[in-house]
């Protein structure tokens, strides 16, 4: 919301600097985000009077204008077509002036003639949208020759950009904002009188319909100055209104102004609109916009001649009904949209935008002014459905004041009579099938002190509530009955009133205290605690943490061969982010591919996040947490070494992470089920990970085809651990139990066994460990050999077997016997032979 400091000063009577007003509004909860000075730098720009004008010879577009600038006459060359006749007033930039666009004015020759200054357009001065030609002041507009233009035309101002929260529609107009300014500076506020029409239609029966809205009071002091105007033949002074949908339109008023003359608005109005970001159009439309900016109440003007009937019907649209809106778009409606119709069909989308066919034009003579109150939710739905967010819908969907209708009507009618020379019907139709009375709130005057944690005198509470427009009457049980003003739809509960008391007193005035919260003893959620330890362990091992978006494209998942269907977003921002990830692989894959493109020698990343697995028949997915690692490129960063990450790096990193966080050994083994479960892994370089037989994850080198699909030029090692399973395994494992330290020494024996390549180390080690000898304490692989002395397709595995008897010192003889049995049994089990 843009607001003019000058206008707020006029309305509130508070004479404070823009900076002070901005700070005060922010303290009240109306955050002023920006204060933009206007009219600065217009030194040497003055009002001047035209004394003579003559064409420049040979230059048919140029005029030599003689102006009086308060000090003397000077001659300027002007290229505009609208130089006024002698006596007309214009704006002159004297040499030395620098205009807002940066143009520096100096004496110069134009077409062989000396020009000492420039006559300015609104655009050049930065004070209007311009149009054809220079700014010419009309009679009745202020400014005498020599006066600085910024003083004469009141150009100096500060425009506030206020970030309004949606609960404060009352501040979407300057009067509401001025009320807050007055509040901030402790000044009593009186809303300005809306004025009464200066010209009135004669002969309108004022008792036509009781409850209708009289536009002037009988004893109004200006009755003497009132001009009575004959009604125009065949033009009604009252238009019948029928509301078929009272719950969506609780109030609708229509007032007639006859005989307007469409033309440009005076400079002050054009300038006021322009500086607040509204394009001036003509005097009738400008009045509706001014009322909107002033009172925050959107109103609409119809060309009465274009209304069939003429009558107004407010009803819901018929499914598929259409109408062209002011912006030229053909709109199609649903039965949930509210329309303003005449005798023939729709003429406006209620509260959103008027129709093209009834809009004000150059030849409009008679106007019907609409001032209404619409149901906020209905307007919002229509505005969203049509994708049409307007100044009007913005206010209606936040809630305008239903009881502000008469004021807005009076204001619009009186301005239109004044500026467009119209004559008003003395009464307007005001149909109000569902009156909205101020809300009554039962309020305990001790409530503010109790909730804010400070003593607050009842007197202070009462003053605060009355200052914002509440009426207070006593009720039973020492409670107050507080009637909130209808321009504050946000006030409905006692707590809302507490906030008013708090913000008027200032949040700074509330003390600070630490609560006595008894710790629950729960502390950090177990999953979050484990996640933190896993992350720290992964980072300690040299991995960088990645954070990817939770959404990916369907293609990302397909290309990465992630099995299973993902959950889709109903309204994604793009196809690239259309589904929720079911795996952390696509994100890490993309990150690694990117770092390879940046010529990084290696990438070592991890991510710990949730994935989303749809559950049949359940509205919500499961959200298991995964820890994933991705390693690619050089294992060791050194020019002299070129080892690349492989399966064993992945296994080693994950095992270290698990060891560091759970103190459990991580086992890896082949599993055919991974074909289906992890088709993205290399079928010959992958493993299932488990702890004590509980499957906790997978690790492997990426399937080369998947790498190709991701444009990855390096082998990627990918692994993931599933936090739920880690919990399960940790729980099953329990707390490690202490064991007595061995009292007798161990003895070890080495053995080298030759096995076929297809025999896995784990199988041989297991065979040695479980060959039936309780003396075996440990089996460690210490060498793998292929080559001379070993036939093709075979390998030699060297193990150290550690023997210990917990109850006695082992003799060599006992060990030799045991070792012989162990080796024989193992060889038989796996089909090995001893190495020669």
């Amino acid at each position: 919301m843009k607001a003019s400091h000058r206008w707020l000063t006029e309305l509130s009577g508070v004479d404070a600097s823009a900076a002070d007003v901005a700070a005060a509004l922010t303290r009240l909860g109306l955050e002023v985000e920006d204060v933009e000075p206007r009219g600065e730098g217009l030194d040497h720009v003055v009002i001047a009077e035209v004394r003579a004008a003559a064409p420049v010879q040979g230059k048919d577009k140029l005029t030599l204008v003689t102006v009086f600038d308060g000090e003397g006459e000077r001659q300027v060359i002007c290229g505009a077509p609208n130089v006024p006749a002698p006596g007309g007033r214009v704006v002159l930039a004297r040499p030395g002036a620098v205009l807002p666009g940066g143009l520096a004015i100096a004496e110069r020759e134009v077409g062989g003639v000396r020009s000492s200054g420039m006559l300015c357009s609104e655009t050049e001065l930065g004070i209007g949208p311009g149009g054809a030609g220079i700014l010419v002041l009309t009679n009745g507009e202020p400014g005498r020759p020599g006066q600085l233009a910024r003083d004469a035309l009141e150009l100096t101002d500060h425009v506030f950009e206020i970030s309004l929260t949606p609960n404060r529609p009352d501040c979407l107009g300057h009067v509401g904002l001025a009320r807050e300014v007055a509040l901030a500076f402790g000044v009593a506020f009186r809303a300005p009188s809306p004025g009464v029409p200066a010209r009135l239609l004669a002969g309108v029966d004022r008792l036509d319909a009781p409850g209708d809205l009289p536009l002037l009071e009988d004893d109004a002091p200006h009755l003497d100055t009132l001009t009575l105007v004959e009604m125009r033949a065949g033009v009604p002074a009252l238009v019948p209104i029928r509301i078929e949908s009272p719950e969506r339109c609780p109030r609708y008023a229509g007032g007639v102004v006859q005989g307007v003359t469409i033309g440009p608005s005076p400079f002050w109005l054009r300038h006021r609109l322009f500086s607040l970001g509204v394009r001036p159009i003509d005097n009738v439309v400008d009045v509706t916009n001014l009322v909107l900016l002033e009172l925050g109440h959107p109103i609409h003007a119809f060309d009465l001649a274009k209304l069939r009937g003429p009558e107004i019907v407010v009803r819901q649209a018929r499914e598929g009904e259409t109408m062209a809106t002011l912006d030229g778009e053909e709109r199609r409606f649903t039965a949930d949209d509210l329309l303003i119709c005449d005798g023939g069909g729709p003429v406006a989308v209620a509260g959103v935008m008027g129709g093209r066919d009834s809009e004000i034009g150059q030849d409009t003579r008679d106007v019907l002014i609409e001032v209404a109150y619409f149901d906020a939710r209905s307007i919002r739905r229509t505005s969203r459905r049509l994708g049409l967010h307007t100044e009007s819908s913005h206010r209606f969907e936040r809630g305008v004041d239903p009881n502000g209708v008469p004021r807005a009507m009076r204001r619009a009618v009186s301005l239109m009579c004044l500026l467009a020379r119209g004559a008003a019907s003395p009464i307007a139709r005001d149909v109000c099938p569902a009156p909205i009375a101020p809300r009554a709130i039962a309020f305990d005057p001790a409530h503010p002190g109790r909730l804010l944690g400070m003593p607050i005198a009842e007197r202070q509470t009462r003053a605060a509530l009355e200052a914002i427009g509440c009426a207070i009457s006593p009720s039973e049980d020492h409670l107050w009955r507080v009637h909130a003003p209808t321009w504050r739809p946000d006030l409905g509960r006692p707590e809302d009133l507490v906030e008013e008391v708090a913000r008027i007193g200032g949040y700074d005035a509330i003390p600070t205290a630490l609560p006595r919260v008894l710790p629950s003893g729960r502390g950090v959620d177990a999953r979050l605690r484990l996640a933190r330890r896993l992350r720290e362990a992964a980072a300690d091992l040299g991995l960088l943490e990645a954070v990817n978006f939770a959404f990916v494209s369907r293609d990302d998942l397909t290309r990465a061969r992630i099995p299973g269907a993902p959950l889709a977003l109903a309204n994604p921002l793009s196809e690239e982010r259309a589904v929720l990830r079911t795996s952390l692989l696509p994100g890490l894959l993309a990150a690694v591919a990117r770092s390879r493109r940046h010529q990084a020698a290696s990438a070592a990343l991890f991510e710990l996040a949730r994935v989303y697995h749809p559950v049949d028949g359940e509205p919500l997915p499961r959200e298991p947490w995964h820890l994933a690692i991705a390693l690619a490129g050089r294992r060791v960063d050194h020019v002299a070494e070129d080892a690349r990450f492989d399966l064993y790096d992945g296994k080693g990193v994950l095992a270290s992470i698990v060891e560091a966080t759970l103190g459990a050994p991580l086992e890896a083994h082949g599993d055919e089920a991974l074909d289906a479960e992890a088709p993205y892994l290399h079928p010959r370089r992958r493993a299932r990970l488990s702890i004590d037989g509980v499957s906790v994850g997978v690790v492997g080198e990426l399937h080369p085809d998947v790498g190709d699909a991701a444009d990855l030029d390096a082998r990627l090692v990918y692994g993931e651990l599933w936090l739920e399973r880690l919990f399960e395994a940790a729980a099953a494992r329990g707390v490690p139990q202490a064991r007595a330290l061995p009292r007798f020494p161990s003895v070890s024996r080495d053995v080298a066994l030759v096995v076929a390549e297809s025999v896995q180390v784990g199988a041989v080690a297991d065979a040695l460990a479980t060959a039936g000898e309780r003396l075996v304490e440990a089996v460690e692989l210490f060498d793998v050999y292929r080559g001379a002395g070993i036939e093709e397709g075979h390998k030699s595995l060297a193990f150290r077997v550690v023997y210990r008897d917990p109850g006695a010192t082992l003799t060599d003889a006992r060990v030799d016997t045991a070792h012989g049995r162990v080796v024989r049994a193992a060889m038989e089990a796996v089909g090995a032979r001893p190495r020669a």
Binding site: G29, T165, L451, G453, V517, A546, R594, V639
Partner: protein, 358 residues
């Protein structure tokens, strides 16, 4: 008999002669071991000779045995001496030979980092844990009613514009599940789960349909709240002031001003003194030029307020008995401020050059 004696004595002489120069001029350990094996190995000369011992005359056996053993010891000593000389020569060569090129790059030790968002979360969480808050999780895909209705967002109200949500597709076409737009949903989950009193924070990712230089469709938040009998706005101010001071320093000023969130009343926002131009140090020029706070000296850091009674009503807590306060803040912004990151998207691009530096 005498034949054996003769052969043995001759053999001893031969071994003695052979051993005399056996270890000289050998430049490798293997050569030395080979020579040694020729003399005293399993098939070595002396070993073979010893096999004749039994055939020697008994009166000479002891004497010759001693001679043979002495010779073996001599050979052993010579062998070890030669090994030792070789080792010393190698050591000498290493110490005086060509030096390693110290200008070759050092071998990199991989350094891992937690993501800047994670580190910021850990810091914030630690402060609130120290203040007595539990840390809880809440689902990211949730019922729209938990995200909006139960938190006091009126239906079809512009307040929901503040949080344009992603809906999650359902087989029946219902639009009743969303990616949470704020971690405030933790209030609903926790209050339904356990009775007051409680004090909880919840860090996590949230999602809104925004995508530009200052908005990312996914970002991180922390929400917190406390419910008990007699909690007041003064307590809210106390806890949040303590939070800011522990995180940014005791000298940082804070100010609370009114604002609006549907789930709190009274509602507010907390501004803290700009930690870049540090206006409390009274360098007005520095503040005027500060781009971070745009010269205001203040940075908006979080939204807060007293829990709205509609929230209590939605979860079945008696609002006439209990009060509570709540707050929520964006983690990305705090993280960006701390690290001087200007574009939020950098946080989610996972560029190793960015991650490794922060």
């Amino acid at each position: 008999m005498s034949d054996a004696l003769e052969r043995f004595e001759k053999g001893l002489r031969e071994v003695s002669e052979a051993s005399a120069g056996a270890f000289t001029g050998r430049s490798t350990e293997q050569a030395l071991r080979d020579e040694n094996a020729k003399l005293v190995g399993p098939n070595g000369q002396l070993t073979q000779l010893m096999k004749l011992m039994r055939e020697l005359p008994a009166d000479r056996r002891k004497d010759l045995g001693q001679q043979a053993n002495a010779l073996k010891a001599e050979i052993q000593a010579a062998f070890e001496g030669a090994l030792d000389r070789l080792a010393r020569a190698a050591r000498e060569a290493e110490l005086t030979g060509p030096a390693l090129d110290p200008t070759l790059p050092g071998r990199g030790v991989r350094r891992g980092r937690l993501h800047p968002l994670t580190r910021t979360i850990h810091q914030l969480v630690d402060v609130f844990v120290a203040l007595g808050f539990d840390v809880e999780d809440a689902p990211e895909v949730d019922y729209a009613s938990n995200c909006f209705g139960k938190l006091g967002f009126p239906p079809d109200h512009p307040a929901t514009d503040m949080q344009d949500s992603f809906f999650v597709e359902r087989p029946g076409g219902e639009l009743d599940t969303v990616l949470r737009t704020h971690t405030t949903t933790v209030q609903i989950h926790q209050m339904l789960k356990r009775p007051p009193p409680m004090a909880v924070i919840c860090p996590g990712a949230v999602y809104r349909r925004d995508d530009d230089a200052t908005h990312s469709p996914m970002f991180a938040q922390i929400d917190g709240f406390a419910v008990d009998e007699g909690l007041t706005f003064a307590h809210l101010k106390g806890v949040l002031t303590a939070f800011v001071r522990r995180l940014f320093g005791d000298e940082v000023p804070v100010r609370f001003r009114p604002s609006y969130f549907p789930f709190v009343e009274p509602g507010g926002e907390l501004d803290m003194g700009c930690v870049f131009c540090r206006p409390w140090e009274a360098d007005a020029e520095r503040t005027r030029a500060c781009r971070v706070c745009k010269g205001t000296g203040w940075m908006e850091i979080l939204g807060c307020g007293m829990i709205h009674p509609v929230v209590f009503e939605a979860v079945g807590i008696d609002p006439t008995r209990y009060t509570g306060f709540a707050f929520g803040m964006g983690i990305d912004r705090i993280s960006m401020l701390r690290h001087g990151v200007s574009n939020i998207r950098l946080l989610y691009e996972n560029d190793a050059r960015f991650l490794a530096r922060l």
